[in-house]
């Protein structure tokens, strides 16, 4: 119900955006739009942006509906962001991921929307499809088809770049498969259940523990609950999204006998000069080092 509330206010925001749009006397364009004829592609989350950029190459301009670094779960879109969405030539989105984007798209539909739900083979409520390289390759193909439909002249280029992306992601998949083969059946304990597709692809079992914060020493009760959750799983590591403090690490070490490590859910843009593939490599190293293989 919380989400319905935020959805409602997001709707209000996009209505406001639409009004604003209507009030403009010139053909309104999104904040990133330029009149050079190139496709204006807007995406709703970093992994989708990364794939779209790879597929677009120089033939289209890709931007995120949200400023770089914004968490994918931010629920509100600013009017300018909603405007950029409604004004895009193509919007690449995974409905459910970003309530503010969903609402804005509904309130003020852009010319073309590429809905990745089917291509990504979404299972249940888990939308972290980019954790599975092969799903992401399929997403790349779908994006290529979407861009090709909007810009038929560039179709060959989009498809060929999607093919190159698939090659990279297939190589990543092979690396993961080889490195994690000895770990099949291992339990992956995480404070954020974002790794279900990864776990399924490589034969791991994801166990989510709520109540643990990498920067705050848990209460005795939360520590007991975590202990109960991982008991008998034989795990050596609890994975957090960010580095745990010494106090948390030592509390978990004494209560659970585990270490801590970082596993990045890749929801937000990584540091300048790196990308999703590099982050995936870091994740693989953390898994190899921390899982009981």
């Amino acid at each position: 119900m919380t989400s319905s509330r935020t959805a409602r206010s997001a709707a209000a925001t996009s209505v406001a955006a639409a009004l604003l749009l209507g009030a403009c006397s010139t053909p309104a364009r999104g904040v990133t739009a330029q009149d050079d004829g190139a496709l204006d592609v807007v995406t709703s989350a970093y992994p989708l942006q990364w794939v779209s950029e790879r597929v677009a190459g120089d033939a289209a301009r890709v931007s995120s509906a949200l400023p770089p670094g914004t968490d994918v779960h931010e629920t509100e879109l600013a009017p300018a962001q909603a405007l950029a969405l409604s004004d895009a030539d193509v919007v690449v989105t995974l409905p459910g991921l970003q309530a503010g984007v969903d609402t804005a798209l509904e309130a003020s539909p852009p010319e073309r929307v590429v809905d990745l739900t089917r291509a990504a083979a979404v299972v249940g409520d888990d939308l972290h499809v980019w954790m599975d390289p092969l799903r992401l390759a399929d997403v790349g193909d779908e994006v290529a088809e979407g861009l090709a439909a909007a810009d038929p002249e560039g179709a060959d280029g989009y498809r060929s770049r999607a093919g190159a992306l698939r090659d990279d992601l297939s190589a990543l998949d092979e690396q993961y498969a080889q490195a994690l083969a000895p770990c099949r059946g291992a339990v992956l304990v995480t404070s954020h259940e974002a790794f279900g597709y990864l776990a399924d692809r490589y034969g791991l079992e994801q166990v989510g523990i709520s109540g643990l914060d990498p920067s705050v020493e848990p209460t005795p009760a939360r520590l007991r609950a975590a202990t109960a959750a991982v008991q008998d799983a034989g795990v050596r590591t609890v994975y957090f999204e960010t580095e745990a403090t010494d106090a948390v690490t030592s509390a978990l070490a004494s209560a659970l006998g585990t270490g801590t490590a970082v596993l990045d859910p890749m929801e937000t843009a990584p540091a300048e000069g790196t990308d999703l593939l590099a982050t995936a490599q870091e994740n693989l190293a953390a898994l190899r080092a921390g899982l009981t293989c």
């Binding site: 119900m1 319905s4 206010s9 779960h73 249940g124 005795p220 999204e241």
Partner: protein, 448 residues
């Protein structure tokens, strides 16, 4: 003015009293159908609280981040419930009461004009198969549930009900949307103003106290539209409620309790206290336990003289067979002393400074954990005295004498955190930071 018993805060759980099942109602005397009004708050407010909250920088957290609010003279201090570090202060005049508003984020502050929502700045949002959690600075919102005399607030299974003692009106809203000024509010009216309480059950029906400013007499069961379905008039001095498992509701009376089970078409049973004056006015329930813990005062002369009784027994009501047992304690306690542990154990904070743990099934004290220095109950109910609230296996205990707040691990008795405030702590409330799920499992801390 409310008696100490009237001051009970937390209507989370209700239990019901004894046995009768009264046939349905008598309409007739003007107390028949409650009047109904559906309304939404005026949308004219240019700065609804939800937007104010979003304007404050929100930080995503790895897990739910419960917060603890403590009233004192001059306002409310908000603490991180894990570390007891202070995260913010809100200034407010007057004597303040605090109740959870039901969404895990806001607290209802009873003050002049009604229940005003305090945003504690911690919340969760469902995200597919798991939740995401956020924090921001605490702030007072502009969202108010108007009341001439704000009384009890009850949160039950996703619905929050605010009772206005001054008019006998109660307002119910979806707990998750409690801070949304546009949320639909259902307003119903009891026959007369009284210090009352109302609960909405999952079938939409209500159980509501009945009375006048001079005499509170029993309860009525209303259907979702406010029409009376049944009533029980065998609960003199009706006060307080608690919910047990299967939505069994316990309502306190001066001579026992009423137990209501079965919802709209259910039954209400009177449980007679073993003493002619056997007052139960404060109850603590646990929504997975069939037992409700109640206070127990048996000094009729003290009650008649309106002097303070310092009881040393508590009651345990078994809602399955509407039975009542008394438990002797090594000390007295007050209306701020009752709580339930994570596993349903009864907790009583005694004037000997210990937290007494009661096994409700055997109605015995199983252990006593020293937490604060011994203290004496003040004569005036508004005077601060040690208070206890429990969340996720941690008991939070105030110690007004030292201005301290302690966090106690109920299972081991370890006081794992203590903080000293600038002001004398009085009332406590917890904001869980968890989203309000339809069928809340607020006590869950880990899931596989």
């Amino acid at each position: 003015m409310r008696t100490p018993d009237g001051a009970t805060g937390r209507p989370r759980l209700l239990a019901l009293a004894p046995l009768t099942l009264l046939p349905l109602v008598l309409a007739g005397c003007g107390t028949g159908a409650a009047t109904t009004a559906r309304q939404t708050a005026a949308p004219a407010d240019p700065s609804p609280a939800t937007e104010q909250a979003t304007e404050r920088a929100a930080t995503e957290q790895a897990t739910s981040t419960p917060r603890l609010a403590v009233t004192h003279e001059g306002g409310v201090t908000v603490l991180d419930a894990t570390t007891l570090e202070r995260v913010g202060d809100v200034e407010l005049p007057g004597y303040l009461r605090l109740n959870p508003a039901g969404d895990g984020r806001h607290l209802a502050v009873s003050s002049t004009g009604g229940f005003r929502l305090l945003d504690t700045g911690t919340w969760g949002e469902p995200h597919g198969d798991h939740d995401h959690h956020w924090t921001a600075d605490p702030a007072l919102t502009d969202v108010t549930y108007a009341a001439t005399e704000p009384g009890h607030v009850v949160v039950h299974e996703g619905r929050t009900t605010f009772f206005d003692d001054g008019t006998g009106t109660f307002t119910t809203v979806d707990s998750a949307d409690v801070a949304d000024p546009a949320a639909e509010r259902l307003e119903l009216q009891t026959a007369a103003a009284h210090h009352g309480v109302a609960v909405q059950l999952t079938d939409g029906s209500f159980v509501v106290s009945e009375g006048t400013p001079d005499a509170r007499t029993g309860i009525r069961v209303l259907d979702a539209s406010g029409a009376e379905v049944s009533r029980n008039d065998q609960c003199p001095g009706v006060h307080g409620e608690a919910v047990a498992v299967d939505e069994a509701l316990v309502i306190g009376c001066v001579d026992g309790v009423l137990v209501h089970t079965g919802g709209r078409a259910g039954t209400t049973t009177k449980v007679q206290a073993p003493d002619a004056h056997g007052r139960i006015g404060n109850q603590a329930g646990h929504e997975e336990s069939p037992f409700v813990l109640g206070d127990y005062k048996s000094d009729g002369a003290a009650a008649a003289a309106e002097t303070l009784e310092r009881p040393t027994r508590v009651s345990v009501i078994d809602t399955r067979d509407a039975s009542l047992r008394l438990v002797d304690l090594p000390s007295s306690y007050t209306f701020r002393s009752l709580a339930r542990g994570e596993g349903g154990e009864g907790l009583v904070l005694g004037t000997d400074g210990s937290l007494h743990v009661i096994d409700p099934a055997s109605a015995t004290v199983v252990r006593s954990v020293p937490v604060v220095a011994p203290w004496e109950e003040p004569e005036e109910w508004q005077e601060p005295r040690p208070a206890v609230r429990v969340h996720e296996g941690t008991a939070y205990v105030t110690e007004p004498a030292t201005r301290e707040v302690h966090a106690v691990d109920v299972a081991t008795g370890e006081v794992f955190a203590t903080t000293t405030l600038d002001a004398v702590p009085d009332e406590l409330a917890v904001a869980t930071g968890e989203p309000a799920h339809e069928h809340g499992h607020a006590h869950e801390t880990a899931s596989a």
